[in-house]
Structure formats: C-alpha cells, structure tokens
C-alpha cells in the first residue's frame, strides 16, 4: 500500500476519570506527532473514529480546530463498529499511497469507565432495537458479553470442548500483561483464579471480558519515503483487507461462528504472497476470549476447533512460537477497541516493547472485529526490514 506508520501517541489509558474523548483525542494526536519528531502542523489529514454509541458531540470533525490544523486535504469519520480503527488507518494508507494526503493522523478515543460504576452502565445500556435483530433485547441479550457468549457456547458445543479452552486464552494473555507496564491487570492469573471468578454470560466469566479504560490512541501514517527520515523506525503497512460475511441466520449457515477474517485473510495473504507461517506475531481483537480462537482458525493458522493448541502448548505466550496479544490485549491490557492491537504491533515492530519484546519481530497480523464477527478488518504490518 506504500504507506507507513511513523508516530504513535497514547493518552489516558486509565480507569480513573479523564477529560472527555475529544480532549483525549487531541492529546493523543499531539503525542503521535511528537513521537514521530514532526510538528503537529505537518498533519494534512485526519481520520477520527469513535465508539459506535457516540455522536459528533463526543468526537467529530471539529477535532481539526482543536488541533489548530488549517487546510486539511482529508478530514473524515471512519465508522465500522469495533473495526473502526483499522478502517481509519486503511483510509489513511489509501490516501497517502494515492497522493491525496501526505501525513494523516488516525485517532480513537473513548471514556466508558465511570469511577464507582459497573461497566454495564456503559456497555449494557437499555435498548429496544428495530426489526427482528431487536429481538435480542426482548430475550434479555444486552451488551457485548451476551452476544459473544452465544458464539463461545456454540464453539464449545460444535467442537466438543470444555470451558478450560477459554481459560487458556485468559491466562496466557495475562502472562503477557504482566510484562507490560501499561496493562490494566498484571497479577498472575491461575487456573483456579479463572474458574473462581463469576460468570458474566455463560460460558464467559469475568476474565473472559475486556478491561475497559478511558483513553485515546493516535497513529500517524505517511509515505515510506518520508518515513525513512522519521525519528522512529518506520512500521510499513503491507496490506489491509476487509471481510463482512453477512451470514444468513438459518439452517445450513452458522452466523455464530462465521468470521470475516476468512475473507480478509485470502486478500491479505494473496496480495502480499505471505502465508500464516510468515507471521511473527498476532495482535487480535480480543474484547472476549472466544475472539482470538476464532481469528486463529479464520486466518488459517489451524483447522476449525483446534486453536486451543496454540494456547495449551504455550505457543501463544511469552517465548512461544506464535506470540498472540503480546501487550495483554483487551482482556488484561486495555480496551480501546481497534487501536489496542495496532499500538502493540507498532511497539513490537519498532523493537521498543521492553520486557515483552518478541525477538526478531518483523511481520505482524493485526485484526479488528465489529458487531460480533460481522464486520472485520485485517492488516499486515512489517518492520523496516520489509522492502515496500
């Protein structure tokens, strides 16, 4: 795609009260420019993404004014539910490679954590809905956990697996988080700790669900030529692809398990000539523990029903052959939707991931899921050793 990530900026990443999303977004963009060694005024494109429940008053196109940016060549809101971050970065990469903009900032911000309140106050809001999809609310299926639980229950039943499969994911991801100073939960999680935690929506327990934070993440996308002169090692965008299955919900199909990653994987591997065996690490969207299992299978790392092996054998954990969610992901790290896996991939490919650094990390797969697995984007990122 002839574009590169040259700046990464974080703001907030806390469970304490913060300024509102628009201010966090401004701070993250400024931090990303500083990280890239560029003045903010270099930015000539802005792509804003936000949680699907938020409106323009929360975070919108007027971020431009807050940043004091004049005469932008691109200013856009990218909305694809949880996949909005990669949708934003893909748009930036396309604009840069087409010459429509030179340096584009992509930013996500959200403040779901209200100190003293349960997360359901933010994520389980009352809804009625329209049409037959709204029957989920008639059934009491509010919030993401209830819906992902339907996928998890079906996955375990179809493949004859027990809940320990989910435990492996939560425990492995926590092992990575222990090595990441920015992670929300760093205390080791034992098998007994996992099963002692309360159910949220069976088979999902507390540690199968993301760790929400208030915060913002921004990245700066520019051309590989400009990236070569940057303050940081460039991270090249090798390919990006979407996959939105639209699976019918009736006999003969399986909407619970169909994953947009299968379509995205064909495009990503097809355009780059890479294969799953060429990937050094995966940063999967893991708002719930079932997600990385289905992503591993959708991307062809293993046959359907066998993703547990990557976790059970330790391959997904620190020191393993296929490191997954190396910053603690959403589960133990921090839930800033699609930007969480992007930020971690950039740190790894720059070689700045500290105690959790994966040796010789050159090629990373990053995924974003929206809806449940309805809306999906995948991106291949490469370190400077990749020729673009």
């Amino acid at each position: 795609m002839k574009s590169s990530i040259v700046g990464l900026g974080l703001a907030g990443l806390t469970r304490e009260a913060t300024p509102p999303p628009a201010e966090l977004a401004r701070q993250a963009v400024v931090a990303a420019a500083h990280d890239a060694g560029l003045p903010v005024s270099t930015i000539d494109g802005l792509v804003v993404c936000r949680t699907s429940a938020a409106g323009d008053s929360v975070l919108g196109l007027d971020l431009q004014r807050a940043l004091g940016l004049r005469d932008l060549a691109l200013n856009r809101i990218a909305l694809c539910e949880g996949a909005s971050a990669l949708a934003a970065i893909q748009l930036a990469a396309l604009a840069v490679s087409a010459g429509a903009a030179k340096t584009v900032a992509c930013v996500f911000a959200d403040t779901p954590v209200i100190p003293g309140k349960r997360m359901s106050a933010s994520f389980g809001r009352l809804k009625t809905g329209t049409g037959v999809e709204g029957l989920r609310y008639s059934a009491g299926l509010f919030g993401g956990a209830a819906m992902y639980a339907l996928s998890a229950m079906r996955y375990l039943a179809v493949h004859g697996l027990g809940e320990e499969v989910l435990a492996y994911v939560a425990i492995t991801t926590r092992r990575w988080a222990a090595l990441n100073p920015r992670a929300s939960y760093r205390k080791p999680l034992s098998y007994d700790d996992y099963f002692a935690a309360r159910y949220i929506a069976e088979p999902l327990r507390l540690f199968d669900c993301a760790a929400p934070v208030n915060g913002a993440i921004a990245v700066l996308v520019t051309s590989p030529e400009r990236a070569a002169d940057g303050a940081r090692p460039p991270v090249h965008i090798l390919a990006c692809a979407e996959g939105h299955p639209g699976t019918p919900d009736r006999r003969g199909f399986d909407r619970q398990l169909d994953h947009g990653g299968a379509t995205a994987a064909r495009a990503l591997f097809g355009t780059t000539g890479l294969a799953p065996g060429d990937i050094d690490l995966c940063e999967f969207y893991d708002a719930f523990s079932i997600s990385p299992l289905l992503a591993l299978e959708a991307y062809g790392f293993c046959p359907a029903g066998e993703a547990r092996q990557a976790y059970a054998d330790g391959n997904a954990g620190p020191g393993g052959r296929l490191p997954i969610n190396t910053g603690g992901g959403h589960l133990s790290g921090y839930y800033l939707q699609g930007m969480t896996p992007v930020a971690e991939a950039v740190a790894q490919l720059r070689g700045t991931a500290g105690d959790r650094q994966v040796p010789r990390a050159r090629t990373a797969l990053v995924t974003n899921d929206g809806g449940r697995f309805d809306y999906h984007l995948g991106m291949l990122l490469g370190s400077g050793e990749h020729v673009t």
Partner: protein
C-alpha cells in the same frame, strides 16, 4: 409490571410483528426458490422479492444459548440467571429468544414456542422440552 422491550417493526419485519402481536409466529417462503425466511425484503439465496407468509409449527432446537447473571432491564430482574439464546425453527430460520421451562438446556435441545401479551405487543419465548 415491567415487560421486556419489544422491537419496533421495520419494512422487512412488518408482517412478522403484526402476526406476533396476534400471538402467531409467521414465516415467509420465497415464491421463486422456496427458501424460508423470518423477515427479509430480498431472498439472499436467489434475489427474489416475492414471499408467501405461513405459520410456523413453533417447534425448534437451541442453536446456541447463554445464562446471563446480571439483569440489564427490570423485566428480567427476578429471572436470574436468565437463559436466552438463538432458536432454530423446524422450518429453518433462527431468532433470538428467551428460553424457559424445566427441560435441560443444551445446544441442540428441543424447544416449543410460547406466546404472551405485553401490553398489546406479542412476545414469543421458547420452552425447553423435558425428557
């Protein structure tokens, strides 16, 4: 008395919800290819847009389910843990629904539709069949 939230009909589901408000479960068969749908305007199997409505038998199986341990709506506060999921009707289409009754709940378990009136709107839940 607090009722569960009932969706507003859209263009695709107007017939479905009108029937449900009369305590009937209505499906629609594509007149071109015979595929049975819950509520669509276009048949995803053949692209057809002509449908013939008919009543479902009410029988189905559990496609997937969960037990929720927190109520997000007052209508479910006394039902915890709340069992709900996706039911695959004998005719093929699936829908989200609450699961009730004493029968064992598992993927593949047989269920039967039960209707109730919620202040003029119809609600269908599915009862797990014992034994």
């Amino acid at each position: 008395m607090s009722f569960p939230p009932i969706p507003e009909p859209d263009a695709a589901s107007a017939g479905f919800f009108a029937a449900l408000d009369a305590q009937r479960l209505e499906l629609r068969r594509c007149t071109a290819c015979g595929t049975v749908h819950l509520a669509v305007l276009v048949c995803d199997a053949c692209g057809g847009s002509g449908f013939a409505p008919f009543l479902a038998s009410g029988a189905g199986i559990v496609h997937s389910f969960t037990r929720l341990h927190m109520a997000h709506h007052p209508a479910f506060a006394e039902a915890l843990p709340l069992t709900a999921g996706v039911v695959e009707l004998a005719e093929g289409p699936r829908l989200f629904a609450r699961l009730v009754g004493q029968g064992p709940c598992a993927v593949g378990a047989p269920v039967m539709a039960e209707f109730s009136d919620c202040d003029g709107r119809g609600l269908v839940v599915f009862s797990l069949i014992a034994g």
